[in-house]
């Protein structure tokens, strides 16, 4: 702040004033609705999830196997070449213990979230998912985990067809 300036504009509304309804508030609800075309790559990915499999795309030029699959390699800028299945097991690249929901409200049970690098994909190629069947303080980066799937009849072709990843060794 410049020493020459003596006051700064802006009038705060405190939480109390808000609760007291001191100021006029316009409340409006708005629900934008979309139906996003998944496209070639993700449609196939989702269909494979329904079958209990994880599929990747390979770029033969940089020799990477990519999940989530995409029809173009972003490093080489060229179409990717082949489909390839990867395993539904992997390694915890990083994790976190979440105590809040998307709307900032407190969760009753903490959620374990992680980036899981998948076996069969190139190094460092992971997906976002949850961890389960493990106590938060037992999670380690580098842990081997495997996917727990919903039973076939419940799978819809969604990322949630995998319930979570659980540790492969009993600790």
């Amino acid at each position: 702040m410049s020493v020459k300036i003596t006051s700064y504009p802006g009038r705060e509304i405190t939480t109390d004033e808000l609760k007291q309804g001191k100021y006029l508030e316009l409340v409006q609800k708005f629900e934008p609705r979309y139906s996003w075309a998944a496209g070639v790559a993700i449609s196939r990915f989702l269909n494979e999830l329904k079958e209990g499999r994880i599929i990747a795309r390979k770029c033969l030029k940089c020799a990477r196997t990519l999940v989530p699959p995409r029809m173009y390699c972003e490093q080489c800028f060229r179409p990717t070449d082949e489909w390839a299945y990867v395993k539904d097991t992997g390694t915890v690249n990083t994790y976190s213990i979440s105590h809040v929901a998307a709307d900032a409200s407190r969760l009753k049970e903490p959620l374990l979230v992680a980036v899981v690098d998948l076996d069969g994909a190139s190094p460092g190629i992971g997906i976002l998912h949850m961890l389960g069947e493990i106590e938060p303080d037992r999670v380690r980066i580098g842990m081997k985990v495997s996917a727990v799937w919903k039973p076939a009849r419940e799978r819809e072709g969604a990322i949630t067809d995998i319930r979570y990843f659980r540790p492969m060794e009993v600790e």
Binding site: S2, K4, S96, D103, S105, G126, I141
Partner: protein
């Protein structure tokens, strides 16, 4: 090949608070007016306006750039809104830079505004919609997940502890006590941070900056005009920005490579060869305390994994060899997304002119840096300024 030198000649800022009475338009106006007044200019003198604001979801207006344009001084003028997520605040004066450096305009007003409070039930909810609709949103993902995932990875790779990181929160919130607009200036201890409730471990309440309402603005001018307007122009000598891949789960989160590239782009333009030696003061983006460290390393102001040590040793204090966030940063002043980055630009501007009052750093600061970051941990925007 770079045609024209551009300077910042005025700056303005509103209070940052959790909830402000002013509308987004009014906040933009207050900051713009203040910036113009400080430069001795009126709106008539302005040739073009750039506005920066992050997700429309906060204000609750589609195409909010259009909605904000009157408060930003854009009526009847060439006006553009730029938007690169959290990087917007520093990107806004970068956009002003290209408006002037290109020769298209002589005087450009740059305003950054954010009004996060309108969104119910909580501003954080807007962040759910930044994630992939098909692969991530169904998991109930929150913004805090990706920060905490990144923080954990960074800590793991370099063996940095939560306590080390907490020093940043202590420093910045303490610095913010001297910032007249600050929302959360306070003298706290590392212990306070460690005891604050875990939100998304390892992120705890005092590790993170709050949602806020606020606006800030600067006026840019070409060299010739700047010299007429002030005898203390602050030259915007280097600008840089880089965006990394959408697929953040395919990247190594321990090191912000995109920020290194953005930094190099700005350093090259500004003729900076050794950032650690040549940058006197750095306003590095700190929405979370660990980000300050992460970014310092990306900007080559610290070796990989070494920023924490520098912080604990006091190097980044106001009286240290490389003051970082003397303003109090986002952690202390507040985080109205786009305005926060602009707040950093304003801080460097005032510091380089010796006008930062109680926050003035001890050393003789001639070259400063402001940096912002955002998207899915993807974008780095950097500005190098010289007095």
């Amino acid at each position: 090949m770079l045609k024209r030198r551009v300077a910042i000649v005025g700056a303005g800022i509103t209070l940052f608070r959790r909830r402000m009475l002013e509308t987004g338009k009014e906040l933009s106006f207050e900051a713009s007016k203040m910036a113009l007044d400080s430069a001795g200019l009126t709106l008539k003198d302005v040739d073009a306006v750039v506005e920066g604001s992050a997700p429309d979801a906060f204000d609750g207006v589609h195409m909010k750039g259009e909605y904000l344009l009157d408060g930003s001084g854009g009526v009847g003028k060439p006006y553009q809104r730029v938007f690169v997520g959290g990087g917007t605040g520093v990107f806004t004066p970068i956009a002003g830079w290209w408006n002037v450096a290109s020769g298209f305009h002589d005087i450009c007003l740059c305003v950054a505004e954010e009004k996060m409070s309108p969104l119910h039930p909580h501003p954080q909810y807007a962040f759910w919609s930044i994630f992939d609709q098909i692969l991530e949103r169904p998991l109930g993902v929150t913004l805090l997940w990706i920060f905490s995932l990144e923080m954990r990875r960074y800590m793991h790779k370099y063996g940095i502890t939560e306590e080390d990181i907490a020093h940043v929160a202590v420093k910045n919130k303490g610095n913010a006590v001297d910032h007249p607009c600050a929302q959360l200036g306070a003298r706290i201890t590392v212990d306070d941070v460690m005891k604050s409730e875990p939100i998304c471990w390892p992120v705890k309440r005092l590790d993170v900056s709050p949602p806020s309402d606020g606006a800030a603005a600067v006026v840019l001018a070409s060299e010739k005009t700047a010299k007429k307007l002030t005898d203390q122009p602050v030259w915007l000598d280097g600008v840089g920005w880089t965006l990394d891949s959408t697929h953040w789960t395919n990247r190594d989160l321990a090191y912000p490579e995109y920020l290194e590239k953005a930094g190099r782009m700005a350093y090259k333009m500004a003729g900076i060869k050794n950032p650690r030696k040549e940058i006197d003061i750095a306003e590095v983006y700190d929405p979370f305390d660990y980000k300050e460290l992460h970014h310092m390393e990306g900007l080559q102001l610290a070796g990989k994994g070494e920023a924490a040590k520098m912080t604990v040793e006091g190097v980044t204090q106001r009286d240290g060899d490389l003051p970082v966030c003397p303003s109090g940063g986002l952690l202390g002043v507040g985080n109205p997304i786009a305005a926060a980055g602009m707040m950093k630009i304003c801080e460097v501007f005032w510091q380089l002119r010796g006008e930062a009052g109680k926050r003035q750093v001890k050393k003789d600061a001639r070259v400063g840096l402001a940096q912002a970051w955002g998207d899915l941990m993807q974008v780095g925007t950097v500005a190098v300024m010289r007095s």
